[in-house]
């Protein structure tokens, strides 16, 4: 068909080949098109994001595997193994339970930080490789997260107080919906929404002051309740963080509380993420403060905890989608008030972001992206069936009211990632790695690997400039000065944009009046 068309072109064979190979291997292209055709562009952006995360994890896995794991495997095969390498003790064999707990046999494999050697192979400095690979991964992750967030924000409007107007509803008919039943449903929904917005406008003139106060009171009460719940959960995690139960509890909380919130139907998005953030930060704090006192190989323990977290997150996502579907299907039959089940794009995207943020743990467990790849791959098919099964799938209602919600959303996307990244940075700069395992054993802190390398570089005449830059820029106070300067510039730009927005708003008002 397509190939035939290319073949019929009066071009030379080389050029035709150029055209046909440019059609790169597009994973899931047919599936994406059918999803877009049935459910519209906003749901499609979720799946595009999911696919992108999968590609990113595949890429980072390959990078990590190539630069860090393969040299280690090669080293293990060479005949002169020194006693620094932790071999698998005789009595530990592979039992199936390891997949769930991540402990035991896995502890001695390349999955975790602990079994990486600190020796230099044939000119290949393991410490440096490990350090730089992880650093590059973090930077790439951060940049791409920013990029995706900006894209996503443009494609999926979250709030503009004028966006509930009828005219907007009419103008933004989704032309990419091609399934006939879906089109019919959208038309019915649009009719309902138009009628609702008409009656809402009629009603709004009638709201009295006392009703408004009641409204605010309820909002405040809900907010208070949710924050106290969040604190309660965080505290319980702190005290229970020693056991295996932690990831189980964490994921259970993440699953149950959102359902609970959706009953209230308010503040859903950022309460959720606030909860998750607080849990993550409590965990980070716990690891940083208590665990180094424990003794050897604590980084592997952290790696294991992260592995368990990722695993349970995945299990609970699966459970959540089954459970949520089941519940809403039952709910529509029993309680018509709850409405038709929807596929809430924003909440699902936030869940994806959370899952990806857990991959910060790559420092402690370099092969974590492998788990992520598996997770996202399965998640795609899961979510696709969830979306198809809720076949009364509506375009998500625009529930956001305040204009601040947009900036909050962006903030919430980055905050967990930056907290994680900062804690990793703090770890490398200040804490002493454990003495008996890992690629950085024997050093004062992980960052001194770079120190050592720069020291070595001094002897090589060609790279004096690197040493110069390192000594004068990064080590000295100029570095902090530069960082502050950058932050100040960003702040200024942000203020300028805000000022322009205000100006536009005023001009617009002038035109109208």
């Amino acid at each position: 068909d397509r190939i035939q068309a290319i073949r019929d072109l009066p071009m030379s064979f080389k050029e035709k080949k150029h055209i046909s190979t440019k059609q790169t291997l597009k994973l899931w292209q047919g599936a994406m098109k059918s999803i877009g055709g049935k459910f519209g562009t906003s749901v499609l952006t979720y799946f595009v994001f999911l696919k992108w995360l999968l590609m990113f994890n595949i890429f980072s896995f390959l990078v990590n595997f190539g630069f860090v794991t393969i040299p280690l495997l090669v080293y293990k095969q060479t005949p002169n193994i020194s006693q620094n390498v932790n071999n698998v003790p005789q009595n530990v064999t592979f039992r199936g339970l390891e997949i769930l707990t991540g402990a035991g046999y896995f502890k001695y494999t390349v999955m975790y930080y602990g079994s990486y050697s600190n020796e230099s192979l044939v000119g290949y400095n393991m410490q440096l490789a490990y350090f730089f690979t992880i650093a590059v991964y973090m930077v790439l992750c951060g940049i791409s997260l920013i990029f995706m967030a900006v894209n996503f924000k443009d494609n999926y409007v979250l709030a503009d107080s004028a966006s509930n107007s009828a005219w907007q509803l009419l103008c933004t008919w989704d032309f990419s919906v091609t399934n006939e039943k879906a089109v019919k449903q959208r038309r019915n929904n649009l009719c309902v929404q138009l009628k609702e917005s008409l009656s809402e406008m009629a009603q709004q003139e009638r709201i009295t002051v006392s009703e408004k106060l009641k409204h605010y009171g309820i909002n405040f009460g809900c907010w208070l309740l949710s924050t106290s719940l969040a604190f309660g959960c965080a505290a319980s995690i702190y005290y229970e963080a020693k056991t295996l139960l932690v990831p189980f509890v964490v994921s259970l909380i993440n699953l149950v509380i959102p359902l609970f919130y959706s009953l209230f139907n308010k503040f859903e998005h950022y309460s959720n993420v606030f909860l998750k953030m607080s849990i993550l930060s409590v965990l980070c704090y716990y690891w940083m403060s208590k665990v180094p006192a424990k003794g050897s190989g604590w980084e592997s323990m952290v790696g294991q905890s992260l592995y368990r977290l990722v695993l349970f997150d995945f299990l609970f996502l699966m459970l959540g989608s089954f459970f949520g579907e089941f519940l809403s299907v039952i709910g529509t039959k029993l309680i018509p008030r709850m409405g038709v089940p929807e596929f809430d794009v924003a909440r699902n995207v936030l869940e994806l972001i959370y899952s990806q943020t857990l991959a910060i743990g790559i420092y402690f467990s370099p092969l974590l992206p492998a788990m992520q790849i598996l997770k996202f791959f399965i998640l795609f098919y899961l979510k696709k069936s969830q979306v198809s099964l809720t076949h009364n799938c509506q375009p998500p209602r625009r529930s956001g009211r305040a204009a601040q919600m947009q900036t909050i959303f962006i903030f919430l996307l980055f905050f967990p990632f930056f907290v994680g990244a900062l804690s990793i940075v703090a770890y490398t700069a200040w804490l002493t790695p454990s003495k008996s395992c890992g690629p950085f054993r024997g050093l004062n802190n992980s960052f001194s690997a770079v120190d050592v390398w720069i020291g070595d570089l001094k002897n090589i005449t060609g790279s004096q400039w690197v040493v110069e830059i390192y000594n004068n820029v990064i080590r000295s106070e100029i570095f902090y000065f530069l960082i502050t300067l950058i932050i100040v510039i960003i702040y200024i730009l942000w203020q300028v944009t805000n000022g322009r927005k205000e100006l536009i708003r005023r001009l617009r008002q002038q035109i109208v009046n």
Partner: protein, 189 residues
């Protein structure tokens, strides 16, 4: 094999690439789909027109409530029958593609919504638009009072010069406030 007029020449391919927002693969795919719509004897002609009836059988357009308007807007035929040549078809896909700009999309959206082709959206156009988008069954239709109320709300919101109709610049002003217009106004083969 051999070169017949039903195949794209290299020059026209690059010309189309320059003049539209489509990529080479998209143009080739469009050519293939378009020639499938033509009759056997028409495939040999260069400027063959596919009638509206056949264009609206394309799966991407079949369920679209605006399919006839889309064909009418992009048609360059003198009989105003909505038939499209291949170049009209490319125009259509280009305006609905991912890379088209907001101005192009809002311009064409305006023309599509302008049912009587008079250059402005008056009450009759708006009423037809709402009916097109809400549905034909009786319970999905808006009653006439609701319709009147809705239209007056719309006009109040977007009619800046208060002449009772929405012209192109007022329409584009409304569109600029809804960021998901660009991603919704999309048809991809």
């Amino acid at each position: 094999m051999g070169t017949t007029a039903s195949q794209l020449s290299k020059e026209s391919l690059s010309e189309y690439q320059e003049l539209t927002f489509l990529t080479k693969q998209e143009i080739l795919l469009a050519h293939k789909r378009f020639t499938e719509l033509l009759e056997k004897h028409e495939k040999q002609q260069i400027d063959a027109r596919a009638p509206m009836g056949r264009i609206t059988t394309l799966p991407e357009l079949k369920s679209n409530p605006f399919k006839e308007r889309i064909c009418q807007v992009f048609s360059t035929s003198e009989q105003k029958d909505g038939s499209l040549t291949f170049e009209d078809f490319l125009d259509l896909l280009s305006a609905f593609s991912d890379s088209a700009t907001l101005e192009i999309k809002s311009h064409y959206a305006f023309r599509i919504f302008d049912f009587d082709d008079d250059g402005t959206l008056d009450c009759a156009d708006l009423e037809k638009l709402v009916n097109c988008l809400t549905g034909e069954t009786n319970d999905a239709k808006l009653s006439s009072t609701e319709m009147k109320q809705l239209i007056s709300n719309i006009l109040e919101e977007s009619d800046i010069d208060k002449d009772g109709t929405v012209n192109l610049s007022e329409f584009q002003h409304v569109i600029s406030r809804s960021p998901d217009f660009v991603s919704s106004f999309k048809i991809v083969l």
